[in-house]
């Protein structure tokens, strides 16, 4: 009693206010699993921060020590293999979940007015997550880490006007050198996560301001639609999802733990070289066109994706193809899946 008084005297917050703050009414259709796809990457991100900090205790970011320190984490540190594998699998799932979430938003048309801004924020989240994947992979300093970073920097070099600057900034020099790996580490472990936190805060603040898009489904009777409470109902659901995710991650980590390839060798590009699966599309694209065409077209596609809510609005206003976005979306998904599978099955 007096303890409560002691606190409320100093921090004038009442239980009611707290409840109000956290008790957002959530529309019923969020009970459908595919609407939880936004919450899943958020949960996975927390796991990434947690496991990432643990990894940073033993990881030593320099070309001379990095590979050995990862080997130490994998083979010697107690549960090191587990922490590392969970970090790797959660990254994979997070990217998959963000992509699925984005597809859900796209195909339900939830990016339309007034939510255009949040779609743009979402695109930056997507890019941030992909960059986290790229920089994280570079840290292991196995063969593919080195060559992936080299190729990535040279792609950046092709960007008109600012490319050279970006490449030098990325590598800390004209080529991969002893300053490079520490940079990747700082970007991966400090800059990108901070950026992602800020983006997520904005993303979620906007969602709370606007509310999630309200849908009516055919099988919903009147009293089934409407809202339920964020706390405790939705919160419990999230807790259960979270624990399930941890179990899935642990299973994946045990069945297929993160491996360690050959150490980076700047003098020899491996016979077969592949990036992580989420870059297969880009990788295939690079093989199909000259680098200028590949870079400019990729830039154009990313720009079109960012601007999609506005492009879509114009299409709907000026033409009679009201569902164009659905067909374009289906086409894009088919192309992306096809290129990914293509890259996955061939050696070169």
């Amino acid at each position: 009693m007096t303890a409560t008084r002691w606190f409320t005297d100093r921090l004038p917050i009442s239980g009611d206010q707290l409840r109000e703050l956290t008790n957002e009414p959530v529309p019923n259709h969020l009970k459908r699993w595919w609407f939880a796809l936004g919450g899943t990457p958020a949960y996975l991100f927390v796991i990434q921060i947690f496991t990432g900090i643990l990894l940073a205790f033993y990881y030593r970011a320099s070309a001379v020590t990095a590979y050995d320190s990862v080997a130490f984490i994998t083979n010697e540190a107690a549960f090191g293999w587990y922490i590392r594998s969970v970090h790797k699998w959660a990254a994979t799932l997070m990217i998959a979940a963000v992509i699925l979430h984005q597809m859900r938003v796209f195909f339900t048309g939830a990016y339309r007015k007034p939510r255009e801004i949040n779609w743009v924020v979402g695109m930056f989240i997507l890019m941030c997550v992909l960059m986290l994947g790229f920089t994280g992979y570079a840290l292991v300093f196995e063969q593919l880490s080195y060559w992936g970073a080299t190729v990535g920097a040279n792609i950046a070099d092709q960007v008109p006007v600012i490319g050279g600057f970006i490449k030098r900034m990325m590598l800390g020099g004209d080529d991969y050198n002893s300053l490079t790996l520490p940079r990747f580490f700082v970007v991966h472990a400090a800059i990108l996560p901070t950026t992602l936190v800020l983006l997520l805060v904005v993303h979620i603040a906007i969602i709370r301001m606007q509310g999630v898009t309200d849908f009516k489904f055919k099988d919903e009777t009147e009293e089934k639609s409407g809202t339920f409470h964020f706390f405790p109902e939705h919160f419990y659901t999230e807790l259960i999802i979270g624990l399930t995710l941890m179990l899935i991650l642990s299973a994946l980590a045990t069945i297929s733990p993160a491996a360690l390839g050959n150490p980076a060798n700047p003098l020899q590009t491996p016979e077969v070289i592949k990036p992580e699966w989420f870059f297969y599309v880009v990788f295939r694209w690079l093989k199909l066109f000259s680098v200028t065409v590949a870079v400019l077209s990729t830039g154009f596609i990313v720009f079109a994706m960012i601007a999609w809510p506005f492009i879509d609005e114009q299409i709907r206003k000026r033409t009679r193809f009201k569902d164009a976005s659905v067909w374009i979306g289906i086409g894009a998904v088919i192309v992306i899946v096809a290129m990914t599978v293509w890259e996955a099955v061939v050696k070169h």
Partner: protein
């Protein structure tokens, strides 16, 4: 009169705001510049002219494989121009597309880049893949002959700090002290060079 004072007022207002904005932008900008300059690498990769070989070690059309201190494998080929001048072409093994290391495939008489399937002929001209689309060739290092000695301008370090640069394959072996180590003899480039 009243009008005059308001406009004077708003002008002063504007000026003070502008001064404030400039001051703030300049102040924070200066810190930003310091951070940016600190992060932007000052040093370019270091290069040096290094002695490779006596030019008589190769006859026309023959080549040797030289490993620069940074580990890059350089194919050096001798030729003589119609005017009778001895020339050397020193070809890099770094793919001009996105920087992977190409590999000589003796069975196909070509260089292959595993990253995006770039293919180069023995002269280093791209014939397939994205480097061919962009009409690229393997880069050439500056070469110079002085007093019958061949020098190349190469990079002295990459990730592994400099060893000294050495010939790893050459058609004839120098012998006796002071000569380059010579591992395996090779024929003219593009014909029967071993892998």
């Amino acid at each position: 009169m009243a009008e005059d004072t308001t406009s004077q007022h708003s002008r002063r207002d504007f000026l003070s705001r502008a001064a404030m904005a400039t001051g703030l932008a300049g102040g924070y900008g200066a810190f930003g510049m310091i951070a940016g300059r600190y992060l932007y690498p000052a040093r370019s990769a270091e290069t040096a002219w290094l002695y490779v070989s006596d030019i008589n070690r190769l006859s026309d059309g023959e080549s040797l494989l030289y490993e620069a201190p940074d580990g890059e494998k350089i194919t050096v080929t001798r030729s003589t121009t119609t005017a009778g001048r001895v020339e050397f072409v020193a070809m890099s093994s770094t793919c001009p597309h996105l920087g992977c290391q190409v590999q000589w495939e003796p069975q196909n008489s070509r260089y292959f880049c595993p990253c995006h399937n770039g293919v180069f002929n023995p002269e280093g001209v791209a014939t397939e893949g994205p480097p061919a689309d962009a009409k690229q060739s393997l880069k050439r290092y500056p070469a110079q002959v002085e007093d019958g000695l061949l020098f190349l301008e190469v990079r002295t370090e990459r990730l592994v700090a400099g060893n000294q640069g050495k010939i790893i394959e050459a058609p004839t072996c120098g012998n006796g002290p002071g000569h380059d180590p010579c591992l395996s003899p090779i024929a003219a480039r593009g014909k029967e060079r071993p892998a």
